[in-house]
C-alpha cells in the first residue's frame, strides 16, 4: 500500500468527537467567574481541547486500551512512563481521558517548577488545569476528588536517550506517599510511541557545562527536538491498584509493584505493535 493511500485511509478513520458536549459534561468546581481554585477555566479549556484532539486523533492517531479502568469519578492517581524529549505523552494521556470514556475526565498533570516563570505557559497551563508539581497541590486536588497524572521518572525519563527506550528510569516515591495519605487508587498507564517521537542522544558533558539536567540532540535538523515525529501512540490503562499502609514506611516495595506493572504493560504493548508509525 502506498503512502498516499495509507494517509487517505487514516483520514477516513478519524472518529467524530462532540467536544462541546464533553466540555459541558466535565465536572469542574468553578466560582461565579468560571475559575476553579487552581485557575482552570472551561471557557479557555475549549481551545486547548481542540488542539489536543487534533494531535490525538489525527497527528498521533492514538489508541487507548483499557480506558474503562479509569474511574468515572473520585480521586485517582495516574502513573505513567515518561519519554520522548517533549511532554506530548502527558497531553495524549489527558486527551484520552477526555475523549475516550463515557464520562470525560480532566486529568491534572504536575508541571515543572520552571513553567510558572515562562511567559504565557505560566497562565495557560493553569487555565487548562495543569498545576505546579508540589505535594500540597496534589494532596488538595485528590481531596477534591480529582484525577492527577504523575510521571515518577520526571526529567530523567523524558530526557532519556533513544538507546534506552522502553527502559524505565528510577521511580520517585512521592506518588506512593500521596496515594497512601489520601487513599487514592493508582491507575498504571503505559505509553508506547512517545519514545520514537524524537529519537535523541544525550550530550551529558555539554549539559553539565551548561548547568542543565540533560541536553538531548536529535540526528536531524534542527537537532534539538522542537516538534515530535508523527508516531502512533498506544496507551494502555491498567486496572486500578489499591495500596494501604503507613506513608512513612519504606515505600520501595509498593513503588516497585507499580513499576513492574507498567513494565509488563509496556512489554505486552510492544509485542502487539507492528509498526512505529502505523
Amino acid at each position: 500500500m502506498g503512502l498516499v493511500d495509507r494517509l487517505r485511509q487514516l483520514r477516513a478513520k478519524v472518529p467524530e468527537d462532540d467536544l462541546e458536549g464533553r466540555t459541558q459534561a466535565l465536572v469542574v468546581q468553578g466560582n461565579e467567574f468560571g475559575f476553579d481554585p487552581f485557575g482552570l477555566s472551561k471557557a479557555n479549556l475549549k481551545y486547548a481541547i481542540t488542539v489536543a484532539r487534533w494531535l490525538y486523533r489525527v497527528y498521533f492517531r492514538a489508541e487507548a486500551h483499557g480506558i474503562e479502568n479509569l474511574p468515572a469519578s473520585g480521586r485517582c492517581i495516574l502513573v505513567s512512563n515518561h519519554s520522548g524529549q517533549l511532554p506530548f505523552d502527558g497531553l495524549v494521556i489527558a486527551a484520552a481521558c477526555f475523549l475516550e470514556p463515557k464520562q470525560p475526565r480532566l486529568v491534572r498533570a504536575m508541571v515543572e517548577f520552571f513553567v510558572p516563570t515562562v511567559p504565557f505557559a505560566s497562565y495557560l497551563f493553569s487555565r487548562w488545569g495543569q498545576i505546579t508539581g508540589t505535594p500540597e497541590n496534589c494532596r488538595r486536588l485528590l481531596s477534591a476528588e480529582e484525577a492527577v497524572l504523575v510521571f515518577p521518572e520526571g526529567a530523567r525519563g523524558i530526557s532519556k536517550p533513544f538507546s534506552k527506550r522502553y527502559q524505565l528510569e528510577d521511580f520517585g516515591k512521592g506518588f506512593m506517599r500521596l496515594a497512601l495519605e489520601t487513599g487514592s487508587p493508582i491507575v498504571p498507564v503505559a505509553v508506547i510511541g512517545a519514545e520514537e517521537q524524537a529519537p535523541a542522544v544525550n550530550l551529558k558533558g555539554v549539559a553539565k557545562l551548561l548547568g542543565i539536567p540533560a541536553l538531548p540532540v536529535v540526528p536531524y535538523p534542527p537537532f534539538v527536538a522542537p516538534w515530535p515525529l508523527p508516531v502512533k501512540y498506544r496507551l494502555y490503562f491498567g486496572e486500578p491498584m489499591k495500596f494501604t499502609g503507613d506513608p512513612d514506611d519504606d515505600l520501595d516495595e509498593p513503588v516497585k509493584t507499580v513499576k513492574h506493572r507498567i513494565e509488563s504493560m509496556l512489554h505486552v504493548g510492544l509485542r502487539e505493535r507492528e509498526h512505529v508509525f502505523w
Binding site: F35, P37, P119, F120, T134, N137, R140
Partner: protein, 321 residues
C-alpha cells in the same frame, strides 16, 4: 485599678483597645467596627491627625518609641492592642521606616508585657510568604516567610511578623493573634487597592496569576473576631475566592498596559524615579507569580467568613475613599 486585676473584673465597663495606625483609612474602618458596633472604648496611637474623629475616641499623636506612648499603657486598663501601624511607604527613607517599624513594635510588645495587656493582634499580610514560581497554590500558616529574600521592602513586615510569632510563644499569658490577610481592597490606600484604581495598570505580558482579594470590612471583622477571648495563633484571612488578575481588571473595566517582563523593571524604575508612577518596582512579582493562602484555619478556629461576595469585593476599590 491595679494592673493585676485586668483579667478578672467585676465592674462592667467597656473594654479598652489601643489601635496603632488608627488615622489611616483602614485604621478608621477597624475603629468604627469596634467602637460603634461592638462597644469597645478606643485609644488611638498615630503620628498623624485623625480626620473626622468622633469625640469619644481618644487619640494620642505620639511616636510609638516615645515615653508618651508608654504612658498610654501605664494606666494598666488596656484590654487589647491592635497593631496596624506598620509603615510601608515606597517614597520614605528605608532607615527611617525600619527604625519606626522595628523599634516601635519592640517597644509596643514591651509595654504589653510590662502592663499585662491580655491580648495583642497584629495585622500582617499574606504577602509575607512571597510570590514564587514554586509556591503551592495555597500556602498554609506554617509556610516559611520568604518574601524578604527578594523584596527588601517587605523585610520590615516579615520581621514584625516574626517578632509577634516569637511573642506568641514567649509571653504565654498573653493571647497573641497574627492575621495574614490577602490583598485588602476597599476604600483604603494600600498597594493592591491603589494598583487596581489605575485606569491603565501595567501588567506583565504572558503572566496572569490567580489572585485573592478580601474586602476591608471583612478584615475589620476578622480583627474583631481575633479580639474574642481564647483566640490565639496565626491565621490567614482569605476573601470570597480566587480569580486571575485579568478577570479582576476586566470586571473593573481597566485597560491593562502590557509590558514584556524583561523590560518591566527598567521602565517602571524610570517612571518611579520621575514620579510618574508610584508602583513599587520590587513588587512586580506579585503580578507575576501566585501568592495565595489557605484560609481554612481562620474559618474553623475564628469562625471567620467573608461577607462580601467576589464581585462586590472587586468593585470595593472604586468605593469613595
Amino acid at each position: 485599678m491595679s494592673s493585676g486585676e485586668t483579667t478578672e473584673r467585676s465592674i462592667p465597663r467597656p473594654r479598652k483597645v489601643v489601635i496603632t495606625g488608627i488615622s489611616g483609612r483602614f485604621g478608621r474602618i477597624v475603629a468604627r467596627r469596634l467602637h460603634h458596633e461592638l462597644g469597645w472604648s478606643i485609644v488611638g496611637l498615630d503620628r498623624r491627625q485623625m480626620h473626622g474623629r468622633p469625640k469619644d475616641i481618644e487619640l494620642h499623636q505620639v511616636d510609638l518609641r516615645s515615653k508618651k506612648a508608654r504612658d498610654v499603657f501605664r494606666a494598666g486598663d488596656i484590654d487589647a492592642l491592635v497593631h496596624l501601624g506598620v509603615m510601608h511607604d515606597p517614597r520614605a527613607r528605608p532607615a527611617e521606616i525600619y527604625s519606626w517599624n522595628i523599634t516601635g513594635t519592640t517597644k509596643l510588645l514591651e509595654y504589653c508585657q510590662a502592663y499585662r495587656v491580655p491580648k495583642v493582634v497584629l495585622l500582617s499580610s499574606s504577602n509575607v510568604y512571597g510570590p514564587r514560581p514554586d509556591n503551592p497554590q495555597f500556602l498554609t500558616e506554617d509556610a516559611p516567610l520568604l518574601a524578604a529574600q527578594r523584596f527588601p521592602e517587605m523585610r520590615d513586615l516579615v520581621e514584625i511578623d516574626h517578632m509577634f510569632s516569637t511573642f506568641l510563644w514567649r509571653a504565654r499569658e498573653i493571647e497573641t493573634v497574627i492575621l495574614r490577610p490577602v490583598h485588602i481592597v476597599g476604600p483604603v490606600h494600600n498597594a493592591p487597592s491603589n494598583y487596581l484604581r489605575i485606569p491603565r495598570p501595567p501588567v506583565l505580558l504572558g503572566f496572569d496569576p490567580m489572585v485573592q482579594l478580601v474586602h476591608s470590612d471583612d478584615v475589620a471583622e476578622a480583627v474583631a473576631l481575633a479580639l474574642n477571648p481564647g483566640r490565639r495563633g496565626i491565621y490567614n484571612i482569605t476573601g470570597p475566592g480566587e480569580v486571575p488578575l485579568s478577570a479582576i481588571l476586566a470586571e473593573l473595566r481597566r485597560e491593562p498596559r502590557l509590558i514584556p517582563h524583561p523590560m518591566a523593571k527598567p521602565i517602571l524604575s524610570l517612571a518611579f524615579a520621575l514620579g510618574i508612577s508610584s508602583f513599587p518596582v520590587a513588587e512586580l512579582d506579585f503580578i507575576r507569580y501566585v501568592c495565595m493562602v489557605d484560609g481554612r484555619r481562620a474559618a474553623a478556629e475564628l469562625g471567620f467568613r467573608p461577607r462580601h461576595g467576589l464581585r462586590e469585593t472587586i468593585h470595593a476599590v472604586d468605593d469613595p475613599v
